[in-house]
Protein backbone atom coordinates (compact mmCIF):
# COMPACT_ATOMS: atom_id res chain seq x y z
CA UNK A 1 0.00 0.00 0.00
CA UNK A 2 1.63 3.25 -1.06
CA UNK A 3 0.91 6.10 1.29
CA UNK A 4 1.34 9.22 -0.77
CA UNK A 5 0.51 11.58 2.08
CA UNK A 6 3.87 11.00 3.79
CA UNK A 7 6.88 12.89 2.41
CA UNK A 8 9.56 10.58 1.03
CA UNK A 9 12.24 11.21 3.60
CA UNK A 10 10.07 11.25 6.70
CA UNK A 11 9.45 7.57 7.36
CA UNK A 12 13.08 6.46 7.04
CA UNK A 13 13.91 9.24 9.48
CA UNK A 14 11.39 8.22 12.12
CA UNK A 15 12.19 4.52 11.74
CA UNK A 16 15.84 5.39 12.29
CA UNK A 17 15.05 7.62 15.26
CA UNK A 18 12.82 5.00 16.87
CA UNK A 19 15.39 2.25 16.50
CA UNK A 20 18.13 4.37 18.02
CA UNK A 21 16.00 5.84 20.80
CA UNK A 22 16.37 4.88 24.44
CA UNK A 23 13.81 2.09 25.01
CA UNK A 24 12.81 3.72 28.30
CA UNK A 25 11.73 6.89 26.49
CA UNK A 26 9.56 4.89 24.09
CA UNK A 27 8.12 2.86 26.94
CA UNK A 28 7.22 6.02 28.87
CA UNK A 29 5.54 7.54 25.84
CA UNK A 30 3.59 4.35 25.16
CA UNK A 31 2.46 4.23 28.80
CA UNK A 32 1.13 7.77 28.51
CA UNK A 33 -0.64 7.15 25.20
CA UNK A 34 -4.43 7.30 25.45
CA UNK A 35 -6.38 5.72 23.90
CA UNK A 36 -4.07 2.87 23.00
CA UNK A 37 -4.73 1.35 19.57
CA UNK A 38 -5.88 -2.23 19.15
CA UNK A 39 -3.19 -4.23 17.39
CA UNK A 40 -1.78 -7.70 16.92
CA UNK A 41 1.61 -9.05 16.01
CA UNK A 42 2.01 -9.97 12.38
CA UNK A 43 5.50 -11.11 13.23
CA UNK A 44 6.18 -11.45 16.96
CA UNK A 45 9.49 -10.03 18.14
CA UNK A 46 12.39 -12.30 17.21
CA UNK A 47 16.15 -11.97 17.50
CA UNK A 48 18.59 -13.07 14.87
CA UNK A 49 21.86 -12.25 13.20
CA UNK A 50 22.45 -9.87 10.33
CA UNK A 51 25.65 -9.84 8.31
CA UNK A 52 27.39 -6.48 8.26
CA UNK A 53 29.25 -5.77 5.07
CA UNK A 54 31.86 -3.14 4.51
CA UNK A 55 34.11 -1.81 1.80
CA UNK A 56 37.77 -1.08 2.44
CA UNK A 57 38.25 2.65 2.18
CA UNK A 58 34.55 3.00 1.38
CA UNK A 59 34.99 2.03 -2.27
CA UNK A 60 36.75 -1.35 -2.39
CA UNK A 61 35.25 -4.80 -2.82
CA UNK A 62 32.44 -5.54 -0.35
CA UNK A 63 33.52 -7.95 2.36
CA UNK A 64 31.72 -9.51 5.29
CA UNK A 65 32.72 -7.61 8.38
CA UNK A 66 30.91 -9.82 10.86
CA UNK A 67 27.49 -10.62 12.23
CA UNK A 68 25.54 -8.53 14.68
CA UNK A 69 22.47 -9.32 16.74
CA UNK A 70 19.31 -7.63 15.61
CA UNK A 71 15.70 -7.89 16.77
CA UNK A 72 12.64 -7.22 14.69
CA UNK A 73 8.88 -7.14 15.09
CA UNK A 74 5.94 -6.27 12.86
CA UNK A 75 2.63 -5.00 14.22
CA UNK A 76 -0.65 -4.50 12.41
CA UNK A 77 -3.27 -2.10 13.77
CA UNK A 78 -6.78 -3.48 14.05
CA UNK A 79 -8.47 -0.47 12.57
CA UNK A 80 -9.15 0.92 9.10
CA UNK A 81 -6.85 1.24 7.30
CA UNK A 82 -4.90 -1.64 8.83
CA UNK A 83 -1.51 0.06 9.06
CA UNK A 84 1.57 -2.13 9.40
CA UNK A 85 4.50 -0.99 11.51
CA UNK A 86 8.04 -2.37 11.32
CA UNK A 87 10.60 -2.28 14.10
CA UNK A 88 14.22 -3.29 13.56
CA UNK A 89 16.69 -2.60 16.36
CA UNK A 90 20.27 -3.51 17.13
CA UNK A 91 20.71 -5.89 20.05
CA UNK A 92 18.31 -8.26 21.77
CA UNK A 93 15.68 -5.96 23.25
CA UNK A 94 12.39 -7.44 22.08
CA UNK A 95 10.37 -4.74 23.80
CA UNK A 96 12.34 -2.06 21.98
CA UNK A 97 11.56 -3.68 18.61
CA UNK A 98 7.90 -3.99 19.55
CA UNK A 99 7.62 -0.35 20.59
CA UNK A 100 9.44 0.81 17.46
CA UNK A 101 7.01 -1.22 15.34
CA UNK A 102 3.96 0.18 17.13
CA UNK A 103 5.10 3.78 16.84
CA UNK A 104 5.99 3.24 13.17
CA UNK A 105 2.40 2.09 12.56
CA UNK A 106 0.94 5.02 14.50
CA UNK A 107 3.15 7.57 12.73
CA UNK A 108 1.71 6.43 9.39
CA UNK A 109 -1.72 7.56 10.55
CA UNK A 110 -2.13 11.21 9.47
CA UNK A 111 -4.39 11.98 12.45
CA UNK A 112 -1.72 10.92 14.95
CA UNK A 113 1.44 11.92 13.13
CA UNK A 114 1.76 15.58 14.09
CA UNK A 115 1.42 14.90 17.83
CA UNK A 116 3.82 11.96 17.80
CA UNK A 117 6.29 13.85 15.69
CA UNK A 118 6.31 16.76 18.11
CA UNK A 119 6.12 14.82 21.38
CA UNK A 120 8.23 11.78 20.56
CA UNK A 121 10.43 11.92 17.47
CA UNK A 122 11.81 15.45 17.91
CA UNK A 123 12.64 14.99 21.63
CA UNK A 124 14.24 11.60 20.90
CA UNK A 125 16.36 13.14 18.16
CA UNK A 126 17.33 16.02 20.45
CA UNK A 127 18.42 13.58 23.16
CA UNK A 128 20.51 11.67 20.67
CA UNK A 129 22.16 14.78 19.27
CA UNK A 130 22.97 15.95 22.80
CA UNK A 131 24.47 12.58 23.73
CA UNK A 132 26.53 12.58 20.57
CA UNK A 133 27.81 16.11 21.19
CA UNK A 134 28.76 15.21 24.72
CA UNK A 135 30.74 12.23 23.55
CA UNK A 136 32.36 14.18 20.70
CA UNK A 137 33.43 16.85 23.21
CA UNK A 138 34.86 14.24 25.60
CA UNK A 139 36.79 12.58 22.80
CA UNK A 140 37.82 15.92 21.28
CA UNK A 141 39.43 16.99 24.55
CA UNK A 142 42.05 14.27 24.23
CA UNK A 143 42.75 14.80 20.57
CA UNK A 144 46.38 14.61 19.51
CA UNK A 145 47.74 16.15 16.33
CA UNK A 146 50.74 14.50 14.78
CA UNK A 147 52.10 17.57 13.10
CA UNK A 148 55.07 15.86 11.50
CA UNK A 149 52.89 13.41 9.61
CA UNK A 150 50.78 14.10 6.59
CA UNK A 151 47.06 13.50 7.01
CA UNK A 152 45.28 11.48 4.37
CA UNK A 153 46.45 10.92 0.83
CA UNK A 154 48.53 13.64 -0.75
Amino acid sequence: MARDDIPDDLRPRWISSLSQAEPAVLEAHWAGLEPKPAFRWLRPAESGLVMLRGRAGGNGQAFNLGEMTATRAVAILQETPALTGYGYVAGRSKRHAELAALFDALLQDPSRRADLWRDLILPVEALRTAARRKRAAAVGATRVDFTTMVRGDV
Binding site: I6, D8, L42, I76
Partner: protein, 199 residues
Amino acid sequence: MFEHAVVTEPGLADPVQQSQEIFRTVLAALSEPGRVFQLADMAPVGALGVGSAAVAILLALTDGDTPVWLGGKAEALANYLRFHTGSPVVSDPGAAQFTLVKGVNCQLDLFDPGNEDFPDQSATLIVEVDVLAEGGPITLSGPGIPGHRHVTVQGLPADFSEQWSANHAQFPCGVDVIVTNGTSLMGLPRTTSFAHSGR
Protein backbone atom coordinates in the same frame (compact mmCIF):
# COMPACT_ATOMS: atom_id res chain seq x y z
CA MET B 1 7.09 6.44 -2.49
CA PHE B 2 7.63 3.42 -0.30
CA GLU B 3 5.34 0.52 -0.88
CA HIS B 4 4.85 -2.51 1.22
CA ALA B 5 3.11 -5.73 0.47
CA VAL B 6 -0.26 -6.01 2.10
CA VAL B 7 0.09 -8.92 4.49
CA THR B 8 -2.62 -9.04 7.11
CA GLU B 9 -2.33 -12.59 8.44
CA PRO B 10 0.16 -13.73 11.07
CA GLY B 11 2.31 -16.84 10.62
CA LEU B 12 2.58 -19.72 13.07
CA ALA B 13 1.81 -18.63 16.62
CA ASP B 14 4.51 -20.88 18.10
CA PRO B 15 6.93 -21.47 15.21
CA VAL B 16 9.33 -23.87 16.95
CA GLN B 17 6.73 -26.23 18.41
CA GLN B 18 4.24 -26.04 15.56
CA SER B 19 6.69 -26.44 12.70
CA GLN B 20 8.04 -29.59 14.38
CA GLU B 21 4.51 -30.88 14.74
CA ILE B 22 3.75 -30.11 11.09
CA PHE B 23 7.00 -31.72 9.95
CA ARG B 24 6.21 -34.84 11.97
CA THR B 25 2.73 -35.05 10.47
CA VAL B 26 4.04 -34.65 6.91
CA LEU B 27 6.65 -37.32 7.60
CA ALA B 28 3.97 -39.69 8.89
CA ALA B 29 1.72 -38.93 5.92
CA LEU B 30 4.46 -39.65 3.39
CA SER B 31 5.41 -42.84 5.29
CA GLU B 32 1.87 -44.17 5.25
CA PRO B 33 0.31 -43.15 1.95
CA GLY B 34 -3.47 -43.44 1.90
CA ARG B 35 -3.98 -42.44 5.51
CA VAL B 36 -5.59 -39.06 6.04
CA PHE B 37 -3.98 -36.91 8.74
CA GLN B 38 -5.21 -33.71 10.36
CA LEU B 39 -3.40 -30.41 10.91
CA ALA B 40 -5.98 -28.37 12.77
CA ASP B 41 -5.68 -24.71 13.74
CA MET B 42 -2.06 -24.33 12.76
CA ALA B 43 -2.10 -21.59 10.19
CA PRO B 44 -4.59 -18.79 9.71
CA VAL B 45 -6.32 -18.93 6.36
CA GLY B 46 -8.14 -15.62 6.35
CA ALA B 47 -8.11 -14.03 2.93
CA LEU B 48 -5.56 -16.41 1.42
CA GLY B 49 -8.18 -18.67 -0.15
CA VAL B 50 -6.27 -21.88 0.61
CA GLY B 51 -6.78 -24.64 3.15
CA SER B 52 -4.98 -24.25 6.46
CA ALA B 53 -3.12 -27.58 6.14
CA ALA B 54 -1.56 -26.44 2.85
CA VAL B 55 -0.52 -23.09 4.35
CA ALA B 56 0.84 -24.79 7.47
CA ILE B 57 2.99 -27.16 5.39
CA LEU B 58 4.43 -24.25 3.40
CA LEU B 59 5.13 -22.27 6.58
CA ALA B 60 6.94 -25.22 8.13
CA LEU B 61 8.91 -26.50 5.15
CA THR B 62 9.87 -23.47 3.07
CA ASP B 63 12.51 -20.84 3.71
CA GLY B 64 14.86 -18.60 1.78
CA ASP B 65 16.53 -21.60 0.10
CA THR B 66 13.38 -23.22 -1.31
CA PRO B 67 11.90 -21.62 -4.42
CA VAL B 68 8.10 -21.88 -4.45
CA TRP B 69 5.83 -21.81 -7.51
CA LEU B 70 2.23 -20.74 -7.00
CA GLY B 71 0.93 -20.49 -10.53
CA GLY B 72 0.93 -16.73 -10.98
CA LYS B 73 -2.54 -15.88 -9.73
CA ALA B 74 -1.93 -16.05 -5.99
CA GLU B 75 -0.54 -12.60 -5.21
CA ALA B 76 -1.87 -12.55 -1.63
CA LEU B 77 -0.37 -15.95 -0.86
CA ALA B 78 2.91 -15.04 -2.56
CA ASN B 79 3.22 -11.90 -0.42
CA TYR B 80 2.32 -13.90 2.66
CA LEU B 81 5.03 -16.49 2.00
CA ARG B 82 7.65 -13.89 1.13
CA PHE B 83 6.92 -12.09 4.37
CA HIS B 84 6.80 -15.06 6.73
CA THR B 85 9.23 -17.53 5.21
CA GLY B 86 11.35 -15.42 2.86
CA SER B 87 10.87 -18.01 0.09
CA PRO B 88 11.53 -16.80 -3.42
CA VAL B 89 8.33 -17.13 -5.45
CA VAL B 90 9.43 -18.20 -8.94
CA SER B 91 7.66 -18.02 -12.29
CA ASP B 92 9.28 -21.16 -13.74
CA PRO B 93 7.67 -24.31 -12.27
CA GLY B 94 10.74 -26.35 -13.20
CA ALA B 95 12.84 -24.27 -10.79
CA ALA B 96 10.54 -24.76 -7.81
CA GLN B 97 11.17 -27.09 -4.89
CA PHE B 98 7.68 -26.64 -3.51
CA THR B 99 4.43 -25.75 -5.15
CA LEU B 100 0.85 -25.28 -4.09
CA VAL B 101 -1.71 -25.91 -6.82
CA LYS B 102 -5.43 -26.47 -7.09
CA GLY B 103 -6.15 -30.09 -7.94
CA VAL B 104 -7.60 -29.48 -11.40
CA ASN B 105 -4.53 -27.48 -12.45
CA CYS B 106 -2.16 -30.20 -11.32
CA GLN B 107 0.33 -31.14 -14.05
CA LEU B 108 3.07 -33.32 -12.65
CA ASP B 109 5.53 -33.18 -15.55
CA LEU B 110 6.03 -29.41 -15.14
CA PHE B 111 8.06 -30.01 -12.01
CA ASP B 112 11.60 -31.12 -11.31
CA PRO B 113 11.73 -34.92 -10.86
CA GLY B 114 15.32 -34.81 -9.58
CA ASN B 115 18.05 -36.75 -11.36
CA GLU B 116 19.65 -40.16 -11.05
CA ASP B 117 22.48 -38.85 -8.87
CA PHE B 118 20.25 -36.76 -6.60
CA PRO B 119 16.67 -38.04 -6.76
CA ASP B 120 16.06 -36.39 -3.37
CA GLN B 121 16.25 -32.98 -5.02
CA SER B 122 12.89 -33.39 -6.75
CA ALA B 123 9.98 -31.02 -6.18
CA THR B 124 7.25 -31.57 -3.61
CA LEU B 125 3.73 -30.68 -4.73
CA ILE B 126 0.98 -29.64 -2.36
CA VAL B 127 -2.26 -30.29 -4.22
CA GLU B 128 -5.44 -28.81 -2.79
CA VAL B 129 -8.48 -30.93 -3.75
CA ASP B 130 -12.23 -30.68 -3.17
CA VAL B 131 -12.78 -33.96 -1.31
CA LEU B 132 -10.27 -36.12 0.54
CA ALA B 133 -11.31 -39.16 2.59
CA GLU B 134 -10.23 -42.67 3.50
CA GLY B 135 -12.14 -45.47 1.73
CA GLY B 136 -13.37 -45.16 -1.84
CA PRO B 137 -12.67 -45.91 -5.48
CA ILE B 138 -8.94 -45.17 -5.61
CA THR B 139 -6.65 -48.06 -4.76
CA LEU B 140 -3.17 -47.28 -3.48
CA SER B 141 -0.37 -49.77 -2.95
CA GLY B 142 3.36 -49.70 -2.40
CA PRO B 143 5.84 -49.07 0.42
CA GLY B 144 4.16 -48.01 3.66
CA ILE B 145 0.88 -49.70 2.72
CA PRO B 146 0.04 -53.19 4.01
CA GLY B 147 -1.67 -54.66 0.94
CA HIS B 148 -3.95 -51.93 -0.38
CA ARG B 149 -5.54 -48.76 0.87
CA HIS B 150 -8.64 -47.17 -0.62
CA VAL B 151 -9.23 -43.43 -0.70
CA THR B 152 -11.56 -40.85 -2.19
CA VAL B 153 -9.96 -37.86 -3.84
CA GLN B 154 -12.13 -35.51 -5.89
CA GLY B 155 -10.86 -32.51 -7.77
CA LEU B 156 -7.89 -34.01 -9.61
CA PRO B 157 -7.59 -33.66 -13.39
CA ALA B 158 -9.22 -36.42 -15.48
CA ASP B 159 -5.84 -37.74 -16.66
CA PHE B 160 -4.27 -37.84 -13.21
CA SER B 161 -3.94 -41.65 -13.23
CA GLU B 162 -1.88 -41.49 -16.44
CA GLN B 163 0.19 -38.57 -15.11
CA TRP B 164 0.84 -40.50 -11.93
CA SER B 165 1.84 -43.69 -13.77
CA ALA B 166 4.43 -41.71 -15.72
CA ASN B 167 5.72 -40.16 -12.48
CA HIS B 168 5.75 -43.51 -10.66
CA ALA B 169 7.66 -45.12 -13.55
CA GLN B 170 10.53 -42.64 -13.23
CA PHE B 171 11.61 -44.10 -9.88
CA PRO B 172 14.02 -43.29 -8.22
CA CYS B 173 13.22 -39.89 -9.72
CA GLY B 174 9.76 -38.33 -9.65
CA VAL B 175 7.84 -35.77 -7.64
CA ASP B 176 6.13 -36.37 -4.29
CA VAL B 177 2.62 -35.10 -3.72
CA ILE B 178 0.86 -34.07 -0.53
CA VAL B 179 -2.89 -33.96 -1.15
CA THR B 180 -4.68 -31.48 1.10
CA ASN B 181 -8.24 -30.41 1.73
CA GLY B 182 -8.92 -27.86 4.47
CA THR B 183 -7.19 -29.24 7.55
CA SER B 184 -6.67 -32.77 6.12
CA LEU B 185 -3.67 -34.10 4.30
CA MET B 186 -2.56 -37.33 2.69
CA GLY B 187 0.86 -38.29 1.40
CA LEU B 188 1.32 -39.60 -2.14
CA PRO B 189 5.03 -40.27 -2.55
CA ARG B 190 6.50 -41.33 -5.90
CA THR B 191 6.72 -44.95 -4.72
CA THR B 192 2.95 -45.36 -4.41
CA SER B 193 0.98 -46.84 -7.28
CA PHE B 194 -2.37 -45.24 -7.92
CA ALA B 195 -5.29 -46.99 -9.61
CA HIS B 196 -8.75 -45.62 -10.19
CA SER B 197 -11.39 -48.33 -10.32
CA GLY B 198 -14.44 -46.99 -12.12
CA ARG B 199 -15.35 -43.32 -12.26
